[in-house]
C-alpha cells in the first residue's frame, strides 16, 4: 500500500473534520477522491502531508510513518494544489527549477527534471516566458510541472482542471494517465464525476470526515443496484413539482437542471410519478429511464449533488 490511513481523527474545536477515517491506496492506482465541501478531503490531504496536526490515528505513506519520516516521504510526493501557486514574476523555467531545488534536485538532475517536466506539460517552448502572460490552462499545466519535476512516486492532484477550457482539460486528463503509466500513483480529487469515472481505477466517496464508500466505478454502481433513474423533461421549469416528488415514498433523490429532472427511485414503476405530473397539470415532453451513474451513487449516498459546490 502506498497510502495507509487508519482511524484518523482531526478536530477543529467542536467540528469533527476527520472522523476515524480509514483509507488504503495501492501502488500504481489512479485513486479518485470525491466529496462535497467540508467533507474532509482537504483536511485529509493536509494531514497526510504534515501541514496540519491530527489528534489520533496513523498515517503511513510509501510504507513509512509520516510522523517519523515526514521530510523523507515528502521527497517522493508531488502536490498539484487547487490554487495556481506560482511566481508570476519568475519565468516558467525558474518556477519549475525552484520546486526542483526544494525537492532536493541539483546539477544535471535538476536541469533534466525541469526540461522533462516542461516538455511533459507542453510548455518547454514557453520556458522563458512569465506565467502572468499564460492562459488559465497553461498556468494549470505549469502548476502540474512544478509538482512532477522530481518524478514523485505519489502525486496528489487537487481539482487540477478547475476553470479551464475543454482542450486543456483533456490534455491534463491524458497527462494523468501518462504519469500513471510512467509509474506514479495518483490521488485525483475532483468535482467532475465524469473525469473521475474516466481516469480513476478506484474511487472513495468522502462525507462528514468519513469514507462512506470505496471501490471501482462498477462496484460503487452496484451499491445502488436496486435503484432506478428516470429522466423527465417538462415543458417549463416547475419547482413546486420537485418538492412534491421528493415527498413520494418511492423517490429517493431528485435533481433538476432547468426543465429536466433526474429522479432516483426504488421501483421501476413510474405510475406514481407520472400521476403527480398529471395532477399538477405539468406538461411532460419526454420520459426516459437510464442506469445509475457515479453521480447518482454520490447523490444517493451523501444526499448532496457534487456540482453544487463546484
Amino acid at each position: 500500500m502506498i497510502i495507509e490511513v487508519s482511524n484518523l481523527v482531526k478536530r477543529y474545536k467542536d467540528f469533527l473534520a476527520l472522523d476515524h477515517m480509514t483509507l488504503a491506496v495501492k501502488e500504481g492506482e489512479v485513486f479518485g477522491l470525491l466529496g462535497p465541501n467540508g467533507a474532509g478531503k482537504s483536511t485529509l490531504v493536509h494531514t497526510m502531508l504534515g501541514l496540519t496536526k491530527y489528534d489520533s490515528g496513523e498515517i503511513k505513506l510509501l510504507g513509512k510513518s509520516i510522523k517519523q519520516h515526514e521530510l523523507e516521504i515528502k521527497e517522493d510526493i508531488g502536490l498539484v494544489p487547487q490554487d495556481i501557486a506560482l511566481y508570476e514574476e519568475l519565468t516558467a523555467d525558474e518556477n519549475v527549477t525552484l520546486f526542483g531545488r526544494l525537492y532536493g534536485l541539483k546539477g544535471e538532475d535538476l536541469k533534466n527534471g525541469v526540461k522533462e517536466a516542461l516538455e511533459f506539460v507542453g510548455l518547454y517552448d514557453m520556458k522563458d516566458k512569465q506565467p502572468g502572460k499564460f492562459s488559465g490552462g497553461m498556468k494549470r499545466r505549469l502548476n502540474i510541472a512544478c509538482a512532477i519535476v522530481h518524478k514523485p512516486k505519489l502525486i496528489i492532484m487537487d481539482e487540477p482542471t478547475v476553470g479551464i477550457d475543454p482542450q486543456s482539460r483533456n490534455y491534463i486528463l491524458e497527462s494523468v494517465k501518462k504519469l500513471n503509466e510512467m509509474g506514479s500513483t495518483i490521488i485525483y480529487i475532483s468535482h467532475y464525476m465524469e473525469e473521475v469515472a474516466a481516469i480513476c481505477t478506484n474511487i472513495a466517496i468522502v462525507d462528514k470526515g468519513r469514507i462512506i464508500a470505496q471501490g471501482t466505478k462498477n462496484e460503487l454502481a452496484k451499491l445502488i443496484i436496486n435503484e432506478h433513474v428516470v429522466v423527465i423533461t417538462m415543458e417549463a421549469p416547475n419547482y413546486a413539482v420537485i418538492e412534491k416528488l421528493k415527498k413520494l415514498p418511492v423517490v429517493k433523490e431528485v435533481t433538476a437542471e432547468n426543465e429536466t429532472l433526474r429522479i432516483v427511485t426504488e421501483s421501476p414503476q413510474m405510475n406514481e410519478i407520472l400521476e403527480l405530473f398529471i395532477q399538477e397539470g405539468v406538461k411532460v415532453t419526454n420520459v426516459a429511464t437510464t442506469t445509475p451513474t457515479l453521480e447518482d451513487v454520490f447523490l444517493t449516498l451523501t444526499g448532496r449533488a457534487l456540482r453544487e459546490e463546484a
Binding site: 501541514l51 521530510l71 515528502k74 502536490l79 514574476e89 519568475l90 526544494l102
Partner: protein, 365 residues
C-alpha cells in the same frame, strides 16, 4: 538556501522596491553632500573697536565667509530676514583689553545653527583663544603681540582653512539620516515577501516539499539581512568614494551601527508580516509607519529642532537611537561611547522578533 536565493531574485526583479530603498534616499543624500563645499555663511561684523587687530580679524574672516554690511541699529532685522546669518560685535576697547590680558567678550548672534555657522564659530573662537595666549606671552607689549599674531596667522590660516573646508560633519550626519531612512524602508520588503507567498498560495505549497518552517523563516531573514548589507555597503561606498564624506575615525564603527539598525528594521518588517492579514495590508502599515517614523526619528532634520513632546516620542523610535549613535561616531567618538544606543537598538530588535514569533503558525490555514 533555495528560498534565500529566490528572495534576492524576486527583489532584483522588483524595480519599484529597489527604487524606493536605494535610488530615492541616494538622491537626497547626494544633494546634501554635494552642497557641502559650496555653501558660505553670510557674516556681518560690527567693529566698534576699529584697531589694527580687529581690522586684521575682519580681513581673515572675509576668507571664511560672505561678508555683508550690517550696523548696530538693524542687525537684528537683518538676521531675521536672512540678509545676515551670523553677526559678530567687537566692542570698543576690545583690543586693548586683549593686549592687557583682561577678560574679553565677543557678542555673536545667529538665527539657526548649521554646519557652516558651526565651522565659522569654531574659527572665531579659536582665533580669539589663540590671540589671548599670544597676548599672555607678549605680557602687555603691543608690538610683541602684533608680531606674534602675524606669525600665528601664517600657520593658523593654512591649518584652519583645511579644517573648515572639511568640517562637513553635520552634512554627513544628515546624509546618514537618509542611509538610515533607506534601511528603514526595508520594512516595506521584509513585511511583504512572506505574505506575498501566502497570498499566492505558495507558502502552503512550499511545505508540501521537504522544507521546514524554521528554515523558510531563517532564509527569509537572511535574505533581508543580505539586501540590507548591500544597501549599507553601496551607500557608504558612494559617500566615501564619490562625495569624500568624513565618517569619523572609524568607518567600520559606522558600518556596525548601520548593520544593527538594519536588523531592527527587519524585525519591524517581520512583526508587521506576522500580524497583517495579507501583503496589501502589510504594505499599507509599512507605508504608514516608514516616513512618519523617519521624520520623528530625525532622518530629515535634527531632532533638536522639534518640539519637546515630539522629542520625547522620538525616544521610542529606533531611528533616533541609530542616528544618535551615528552622530557620535562622526564627531569622533569610539564604539564604546555608543554602547547604550547599540544596546537599545538590539533591545528593540529582540522585542520585535519575540512579538512576531508569539503567534502560532498553522501552515494549512
Amino acid at each position: 538556501m533555495v528560498i534565500f536565493q529566490n528572495n534576492i531574485k524576486r527583489l532584483l526583479r522588483n524595480k519599484g522596491a529597489l527604487l524606493a530603498i536605494t535610488i530615492i534616499p541616494l538622491i537626497f543624500m547626494a544633494l546634501i553632500l554635494a552642497s557641502t563645499d559650496t555653501q558660505k555663511l553670510k557674516v556681518g561684523l560690527i567693529d566698534q573697536d576699529k584697531s589694527p587687530f580687529t581690522k586684521q580679524f575682519a580681513e581673515n574672516l572675509k576668507k571664511k565667509a560672505d561678508f555683508v554690511s550690517v550696523n548696530e541699529k538693524n542687525y537684528r532685522n537683518q538676521l531675521i530676514s536672512g540678509y545676515a546669518e551670523y553677526v559678530i560685535i567687537l566692542p570698543k576697547g576690545f583690543t586693548d583689553s586683549l593686549i592687557k590680558g583682561k577678560p574679553i567678550s565677543v557678542k555673536s548672534y545667529q538665527v539657526k545653527e548649521s554646519n557652516v555657522s558651526a565651522g565659522v564659530k569654531a574659527y572665531v573662537d579659536s582665533y580669539f583663544r589663540n590671540s589671548e595666549l599670544i597676548s599672555k606671552a607678549a605680557d602687555g607689549d603691543s608690538d610683541k603681540f602684533y608680531k606674534g599674531m602675524k606669525e600665528y596667522e601664517k600657520g593658523n590660516l593654512q591649518v584652519k582653512e583645511k579644517s573648515i573646508g572639511k568640517d562637513n560633519r553635520q552634512n554627513v550626519v544628515s546624509a546618514l539620516g537618509f542611509v538610515v531612512y533607506s534601511l528603514f524602508l526595508m520594512i516595506n520588503v521584509s513585511s511583504r515577501l512572506i505574505l506575498q507567498d501566502k497570498d499566492k498560495k505558495l507558502y502552503h505549497r512550499f511545505f508540501t516539499t521537504p522544507l521546514k518552517l524554521r528554515s523558510y523563516n531563517i532564509q527569509h531573514i537572511l535574505s533581508y539581512i543580505f539586501i540590507s548589507l548591500m544597501q549599507i555597503i553601496c551607500l557608504l561606498a558612494i559617500m566615501i568614494f564619490i562625495f569624500h564624506a568624513d565618517l569619523g575615525p572609524s568607518i567600520f564603527n559606522v558600518f556596525i551601527v548601520l548593520f544593527v539598525f538594519s536588523i531592527v528594521s527587519i524585525s519591524i518588517g517581520i512583526l508587521i508580516s506576522s500580524q497583517a492579514k495579507n501583503s496589501k495590508q502589510a504594505q499599507a502599515i509599512a507605508i504608514l509607519i516608514s516616513t512618519p517614523f523617519a521624520m520623528l526619528g530625525g532622518c530629515f532634520w535634527p531632532i533638536d529642532i522639534m518640539p519637546d513632546v515630539l522629542q520625547k516620542i522620538a525616544e521610542f523610535i529606533p531611528i533616533s537611537w541609530g542616528l544618535k549613535a551615528l552622530k557620535k561616531l562622526v564627531y569622533g567618538n569610539s564604539l564604546s561611547h555608543v554602547m547604550l544606543e547599540l544596546s537599545i537598538l538590539a533591545g528593540f530588535a529582540i522585542i520585535f522578533f519575540l512579538l512576531s514569533s508569539w503567534k502560532k503558525e498553522d501552515i494549512a490555514k
